[in-house]
């Protein structure tokens, strides 16, 4: 099954995306709200504090939460309009069953559960436990992430559980673990305010982490900090940067190896720190020695002069902070790119000190906490390793199961789709994940979904992926449940419940508990009466792991406006800055240098496909757009994707601003309007990815994965372009 029951247009007519422009009751609605709920924004890893105004069980507006220390009331437009996702006409209000020819037909919860459980049991008995997979997402709270990890392993007994963080944080996570023995931003953002030099690599801070802009600007204001931006585009954060390194997509590790080589040659490294607190430097030094500026200029397209200036500034800086994000991580060598950055930081010893640090910027709401607590196919709660016998033993004990019954390492998100396509995985339960938009090669993804024997989806809107489900279970929005979340800084914060789920919709965790019960596994879950119960078990499960939450309680979070993990005991204040005094988390206590050799990207530029394509976000949309494409103000600002190109490139193809352009890769084709601007490398085009169907640039991207992190290579594809028609305006 798992096909669309009726024509797509009919589905859109009923389930949207429709645009909501006004709060419930309209703009003119009078009167004070019943309550003001202090919670957080759901639309990115910064997790800004926000106050939601509630009236008659509906969120009717927002107030800035000026005393919350991270954002002090500041919000991007997604934050301002986040409340519009509630009381939405597209909201799923009762369980639906996909009936071919009829559409999505209302059904009862009992019938929906029965069907789901019966299909899980049928598929697992027929094809084996691992033939039923779970896909999850990190817009979910820590509690739900933990619950789903336990649910998949204990109730479903499947190894194949993975999550949409696979498209986000995994390269950084893997790199961090290799280098530091722990996966978290090295510092709280407070250290950005104390630094002298900020290097942003592959991070469009101004659009994807807008509040971080304030920290960077303040460092420039008060300390005269310099800013270096590594990006193929001049993003708003890059526009006034002191130095832009306009790197060619996919060549980051070459740039960082060369930079490291230059500072080693100039003697601008901290030999003491390297000797005392790190391992493996000599091998790296030997490797980077062959990375010359001339070669780097040829490969990366960054002018030699700029490379030298960057190395000089970084080498001579007293304090420095390196930030990176998906721009360097979405590659088949994502982990390598991350490691090349970390090598560059470690060589100067400027980490774990005031104003000295390193961080990756989490993209997804709970990208940080979600991956720590076990819906990642290779991890157990507390950032434990599912292949480590000791870790397995500990978690089995916490969960009350035999270690032998705990499934092993499963497949990553893209690999699960590959196996579904290959007919090996037959059933799927998914929540909070819209792979039809967000995974590469969407034609392949659609084919895979259509091959499923059974697919159950939990969501609040009927996402493009959910349209393929046999059973759709209406879950909860961010503001309809309570719990905790962990921000990009590693700050654990509280999400407060503002309203109840509307109609028959349920809070997500109730759905998992009921399915577990019906699968006969109630005894492992029945003690969960509320999210705090789950959090308390999570605390124990994470105890002794690197991501240790044991000392964090709901009360403590409320009192301190967040607590930074690791926080191993109740009297521990939390750890805003990691790696102080050169203490790292490998058994040897040291940070590890890792040898990185530059490798070309998976897709090949040639005469037929001569142009680099890179993809990314716009500020008005979030991830697969399931939420933001339904919010009027946001969608109005950027209703459609476009293809950004330099006038030199456009001229070569006779393209003018607004013309219709066909872009073709080895996977597929899309037609988009051209945006001809001087703010992008002349050999590269950029397309934002938040849309589905014919507007989806992920029809063109490829399923090539990083061998370690299994992240797909979104940031570099080889394409060709041609003009289809003139600007119609």
């Amino acid at each position: 099954m798992a096909k669309l029951p009726i024509a797509e247009e009919l589905i859109i007519e009923k389930f949207g995306p429709h645009l909501k422009h006004q709060p419930p009751g309209g703009w003119d609605q009078a009167g004070e709200p019943d309550r003001r709920v202090k919670t957080h924004c759901c639309f990115c890893g910064q997790q800004c504090g926000i106050i939601l105004k509630v009236k008659d069980n509906a969120v009717v507006g927002f107030d800035p939460w000026e005393s919350f220390p991270f954002n002090k009331g500041k919000l991007c437009p997604k934050g301002v309009k986040r409340y519009m996702q509630g009381s939405h006409p597209d909201r799923l209000l009762y369980p639906l069953e996909n009936r071919s020819g009829e559409g999505y037909v209302r059904t009862s919860w009992d019938a929906a559960y029965s069907k789901t459980v019966a299909e899980i049991q049928r598929i697992q008995s027929q094809y084996g436990k691992d033939s039923f997979a779970v896909l999850s997402g990190v817009s979910l709270s820590n509690e739900k992430s933990y619950l789903i990890g336990k649910f998949a392993r204990v109730a479903l007994e499947t190894a194949n559980l993975d999550y949409n963080g696979r498209l986000c944080m995994v390269s950084a996570g893997a790199g961090n673990k290799k280098a530091f023995g722990l996966d978290r931003a090295g510092n709280s953002w407070a250290d950005l305010l104390e630094t002298d030099l900020i290097l942003c690599a592959g991070t469009n801070v101004s659009e994807c982490a807008p509040i971080t802009t304030d920290y960077i600007w303040k460092a420039r204001d008060t300390r005269g900090a310099k800013l270096i931006v590594v990006d193929p585009r001049i993003t708003p954060i890059a526009r006034t940067a002191d130095l832009i390194l306009p790197v060619r997509p996919g060549t980051d590790s070459h740039l960082f190896n060369t930079l490291l080589n230059l500072i080693i040659q100039a003697g601008d490294i901290d030999e003491n720190f390297i000797k005392e607190h790190t391992a493996g430097f000599e091998d790296v030094k030997k490797t980077v020695a062959k990375y010359t500026v001339e070669e780097c200029e040829r490969i990366t397209g960054v002018p030699a002069k700029s490379i030298r200036t960057a190395a000089e500034w970084w080498g001579k800086a007293k304090r420095s902070f390196l930030l990176h994000a998906r721009g360097i991580e979405h590659h088949t060598k994502g982990v390598d790119n991350v490691l090349s950055c970390i090598n560059f930081v470690l060589a100067t010893g400027r980490i774990g000190k005031v104003g000295c640090g390193y961080a990756t910027i989490t993209g997804q709401g709970n990208g940080q906490g979600g991956r720590e607590h076990g819906h990642k196919c290779d991890q157990l709660p507390g950032n434990r390793d599912i292949t480590n016998p000791e870790h397995r033993q500990y978690i089995s004990k916490v969960w009350g199961i035999e270690e032998k019954d705990l499934p092993g390492k499963g497949l990553s998100a893209q690999e699960i789709l590959n196996e579904i396509h290959a007919g090996k995985i037959k059933g799927l339960l998914s929540i909070c994940f819209n792979p039809l938009v967000s995974l590469p090669d969407s034609k392949f993804t659609r084919e895979a979904l259509e091959k499923l024997e059974f697919y159950a989806n939990i969501d609040f809107f009927l996402s493009e992926t959910a349209q393929h489900a046999d059973i759709i279970l209406p879950g909860s929005l961010h503001e309809e449940d309570e719990g905790t979340s962990t921000s990009a800084e590693g700050r654990v914060i509280r999400l407060q419940k503002a309203v109840n789920p509307p109609g028959e919709a349920k809070v997500d965790w109730e759905i998992f508990l009921e399915i577990a019960r019906r699968l006969g596994k109630g005894k492992y879950f029945d003690h969960f009466k509320n999210p705090e119960d789950m959090f308390n078990e999570l605390r124990v499960a994470s105890k002794g792991g690197t991501a240790d939450y044991y000392g964090i309680t709901y009360d403590k979070i409320d009192k301190n406006m967040g607590v930074f993990w690791p926080c191993p005991s109740l009297d521990h204040p939390g750890t805003p800055r990691l790696f102080e005094n050169g203490k790292f988390y490998h058994p040897d206590g040291k940070a590890h240098f890792n040898v990185v050799e530059y490798k070309p990207s998976a897709d090949i530029i040639n005469e037929e496909y001569p142009i680099y394509l890179t993809t990314g976000r716009v500020i008005y949309q979030y991830l697969s757009g399931t939420q933001t494409r339904r919010i009027g103000f946001l969608s109005d600002q950027c209703p459609d994707p476009y293809v950004e190109m330099h006038p030199l490139l456009a001229e070569k193809y006779g393209i003018k601003d607004g013309d219709r352009v066909r872009i073709t890769s080895r996977r597929g084709t899309v037609e988009l309007n051209a945006k001809v601007v001087k703010t992008i490398r002349p050999d590269t085009v950029f397309v934002p990815y938040h849309w589905a169907g014919k507007k989806s640039i992920n029809r063109l991207t490829q399923r090539a994965l990083d061998p370690i992190s299994k992240i797909p290579e979104f940031k570099m594809s080889a394409v060709r372009i041609e003009k289809v028609s003139e600007n119609s305006l």
């Binding site: 003119d28 009078a30 009167g31 004070e32 204001d221 800013l227 006034t240 002191d242």
Partner: protein, 350 residues
């Protein structure tokens, strides 16, 4: 406002009062039909008329208002007389009578404002002629059960006081009271509940006029109630209260919020400007190429600014920032800052 007495205003105000006096004497047949009990009303009305004419004169003498008036007349009496006069008549219907633009601001406010506006206008249409002695009734000879209406002392229609027309005549003020009461309650509840209004409203400008209207309407309705159901109980006290509320209204009229009733007429002038922008010659921005207003209105505004002492023109030229479209002006500020900072984040950077 009263720093310097506006001579023309005083003269026009006095003229208005004189004209009214003549009309009262003539209309009431040398005060034969004038009801002495209504003297407080009359005094307040005379004050209101003087005040309103005075203020209107002062207002019209302000350069922008003056130029709008002159421009309106010029546009009406141009070769497009019929088109423009038609436009004004249409605008009068839509904006003054139906007040459609308020509905587009908010349907709730439209209902509220419509009830208040028409409640007042109908009320005046009945009371002023009665106060001035322009209307009176008597029983026509031979038809003792009928009423005859006299206008300016001339006999007009005869009607049955218990028939529809009679009912309508004698209950018109009650209807007005009810309209005003509903309108003021709507306005009050909005002003007390709406967070935006709560913080910006002032007592004198927003709440006082509502209180006065509410007082007039409720005390008026009580008079009817007393007559019909209490056999005139407490009628004198009630009528005194009613009288004072009406006096308060009339005294407030020229200087408070109610003056907008007269000012609203200039909206027809605005309609002519807008029409000119649609049909006439456009002022094109030399930077963005956008036709952002009509040439006529841009010239008018520039001349008002000159008259008021603003010197926006670039030396020796007629060119000023007002020749740029609003969008270009916003770009001007951004560009000026950008250039002065040499495109950098801040000033000390190389």
């Amino acid at each position: 406002m009263f720093m310097k007495l506006h001579k023309e205003g005083v003269l026009r105000g006095l003229g208005g009062v004189a004209l009214l006096s003549v009309l009262i004497v003539v209309g009431s047949r040398k005060l034969v039909y004038f009801d002495a009990a209504l003297i407080p009303y009359l005094i307040a009305t005379i004050f209101a008329i003087f005040g309103s004419i005075y203020r209107y004169s002062v207002w019209l003498s302000r350069p922008p208002t003056n130029i709008l008036w002159k421009r309106s007349l010029k546009l009406i009496f141009s070769k497009y007389f019929f088109a423009n006069a038609g436009l004004v008549i249409k605008a009068f219907f839509e904006n003054m009578l139906l007040q459609k633009f308020i509905g587009r601001r908010s349907p709730y406010r439209w209902i509220m404002h419509f009830l208040l506006a028409w409640g007042c206008v109908l009320g005046f249409a009945v009371t002023f002629p009665l106060v001035f002695g322009w209307l009176h009734f008597s029983n026509p000879p031979g038809h003792e059960h009928m009423y005859q209406l006299y206008i300016f002392g001339f006999p007009a229609m005869i009607f049955d006081p218990y028939g529809f027309i009679g009912y309508a005549f004698f209950n018109m003020l009650n209807l007005c009271s009810i309209m005003i009461i509903i309108g003021t309650v709507m306005a009050f509840s909005r002003r007390l509940m709406h967070p935006g209004d709560i913080t910006t409203q002032s007592f004198a400008h927003d709440l006082l006029p509502l209180l006065i209207l509410f007082g007039v309407a409720v005390s008026g309705l009580f008079l009817t109630f007393s007559t019909h159901y209490l056999g005139g109980h407490q009628y004198r006290i009630l009528s005194t209260i009613h009288c004072w509320t009406v006096v308060a209204f009339l005294v407030y009229l020229p200087f408070g919020k109610f003056f907008h009733i007269f000012q609203r007429a200039s909206q027809m002038g605005a309609e002519l400007y807008i029409h000119e922008k649609q049909e006439g010659q456009l002022a094109i921005c030399p930077k963005t190429g956008e036709g952002f207003t009509s040439q006529v209105q841009k010239d008018d505004v520039k001349s008002i600014l000159r008259e008021l002492g603003f010197e926006f023109e670039v030396a020796h030229e007629k060119f000023s920032v007002q020749d740029l479209s609003p969008q270009a002006r916003r770009q001007l500020l951004m560009t000026t800052q950008h250039k002065r900072l040499k495109g950098k984040f801040d000033i000390v950077r190389e």
